[in-house]
């Protein structure tokens, strides 16, 4: 929540004309929750001001990363009375274990929160079930 604390870097200015119009100067590492279920791992990331189309997710060599561009078009203008946060873009990456079926990773955006669903490989799920039933008997 405290984006100021997570300020990672100041982006260099881009020559691209579209980029130049954007007033975003910060890229933050967003706060995430990681949840695990029997058959999947779920990552929730706070990306306020980000629209679905502006999220890029990549998976390569066991590393899952995403970048998100904040939409500044609706931002109000006026005389600043209080400035507690600076809107910005987001970037973060995770090392994902071999247990994840990378081809099945799904993502969705809701109310400024990115949900990444990482299904476990069928063999992993099966193995876990096996261990559990073995432990109970």
């Amino acid at each position: 929540m405290q984006n100021e604390d997570k300020k990672m870097e100041v982006q260099a200015c881009c020559p691209d004309e579209v980029e130049a119009k954007r007033v975003v100067t910060h890229t933050y590492s967003p706060a995430v929750d990681v949840l695990e279920r029997a058959d999947e791992v779920v990552v929730l990331a706070d990306l306020p001001g980000v629209k679905t189309k502006d999220v890029d997710i990549e998976y390569e060599d066991g590393r899952l990363s995403f970048t998100a561009r904040t939409d500044t078009s609706n931002r109000a203008t006026g005389k600043t009375l209080l400035h507690e946060y600076e809107p910005g873009d987001f970037r973060r990456s995770f090392r994902v274990g071999d247990a994840i079926d990378a081809s099945g990773i799904r993502a969705e955006m809701n109310d400024g929160v990115l949900t990444l669903r990482l299904p476990k490989k069928a063999t992993e799920v099966a193995r876990k079930i096996e261990v559990r039933s073995g432990g109970e008997s």
């Binding site: 929540m1 405290q2 984006n3 100021e4 706060a31 995430v32 929750d33 990681v34 949840l35 695990e36 279920r37 029997a38 791992v41 929730l44 706070d46 990306l47 306020p48 001001g49 980000v50 629209k51 939409d71 609706n74 931002r75 109000a76 203008t77 006026g78 005389k79 600043t80 009375l81 209080l82 400035h83 507690e84 946060y85 809107p87 955006m109 809701n110 109310d111 400024g112 929160v113």
Partner: protein, 145 residues
């Protein structure tokens, strides 16, 4: 000579005091905000235009039905909750996102036209537009010929 100088400076000095007073009024009440013991959630940006005061807050994951916005006199209250990530058979591996209830109170320096306050919550960003009452909007007086 010296007296004159003081007389000239005085209006400026009281002008500065006026600004301090406006800010003191605005800031009063803010330390009451809390979320899981963390002060200041959500972070706010407050802007002023000639006709209104605009309050922006980042509230990812807060649904509009879980958010209460109240305006009384010069006081804006934002109250809401963010759900805990939980469920059956869920193990929490990492927890960085705050959850729970929050309240923030903004003491405004201007009288607000309560009936015309509007709010939108889009992609986790809240924008509350608080129009000033007409008597608070500076009126340009033309100099008669």
């Amino acid at each position: 000579m010296y007296r004159n100088r003081v007389a000239i400076l005085d209006p400026f000095r009281s002008f500065n005091h006026e600004i301090d007073r406006v800010f003191a009024e605005m800031l009063r009440g803010w330390p009451r905000a809390e979320m899981r013991g963390k002060a200041g959630f959500p972070a706010l940006n407050v802007l002023e235009t000639e006709s209104s005061v605009i309050v922006e807050a980042e509230l990812p994951g807060v649904r509009s039905e879980d958010l209460d916005i109240k305006v009384q006199g010069k006081e804006l209250t934002l109250e809401g909750r963010r759900p805990e990530p939980s469920g059956d058979g869920v193990t929490v591996r990492r927890r960085e996102r705050g959850a729970g209830e929050f309240t923030r109170i903004v003491q405004l320096a201007h009288e607000i036209d309560v009936d015309r306050v509007t709010a939108s919550l889009e992609d986790g960003v809240l924008t509350v537009t608080l129009p000033k009452v007409v008597s608070e909007i500076p009126k340009k007086i033309p100099i008669g010929s």
